[in-house]
Symmetry: C2
Subunit: 149 residues, 2 copies
Amino acid sequence: MKKTLIIGTAIALFTASAVAQKMSLDKADEAIAYRKASFSLLAANFGDLAARVQGKKPFDAAIVASRVNNVSALAQLPWEAFAVAGSDQGDTNSKAAVWKNAAQFDAARDEFLTAVATLQAAGGDQKALAKAVGAVGKSCKACHSDFKS
Amino acid sequence: MKKTLIIGTAIALFTASAVAQKMSLDKADEAIAYRKASFSLLAANFGDLAARVQGKKPFDAAIVASRVNNVSALAQLPWEAFAVAGSDQGDTNSKAAVWKNAAQFDAARDEFLTAVATLQAAGGDQKALAKAVGAVGKSCKACHSDFKS
């Protein structure tokens, strides 16, 4: 059992360094890439969700539930990457206001996360989903206008 | 109430198209970007998790739990994007074998997802986590060697 554990750990050690070398949260440029990837996946899932809730794509309950789950998970990701030293510089779409007006940025993030929690709580109720999607979209837009260049 | 719903939907309509224009699952090049973003975020989270489980970074239970949750959520994302027509061509790191040997690819994906489910089930048990991280890493590597160029 102990041997298995050591072998397992050795494999993980090798593999983790092999697969994770392109992006981490240890360097500024990688943190910026992490933020962009998170927001892009979030936008793709939210865009598809909104289209289905709005009748622009078929309302498939399983797909909608999957999109809501993805949005909920992805919504948690980008924030830690804003804390990486030096990530206010370089190839970023973030305005300096993210760091200069940190309390305002945190409040905008929290408003978004609250809207996402309400979206998750809507379950399969189409009217509640439509309202929650509207609120999430509004919080995206509000934060982007102040903090995204 | 009805008016609020309509306004909410109109805002979402505007915002979703504004934020989601860069990446979707409707076009081949965007599906490729979606896959890359998913795998990159997955690797970043798994890399940090493995480092903490292996003692290369501090074992912080809250961070470890967050990484496991992120890995579990991100592990679900890339697969649908392989089904987008034309996404076997272009700026992709996927070998043609993904589509030629689809049954084998699906089996490799399922082995990975099973390993990730075991990782999630490990909870805060450090020995179980180390073993599960090893198994996930092994499944990453196995799939990459056959299907990633």
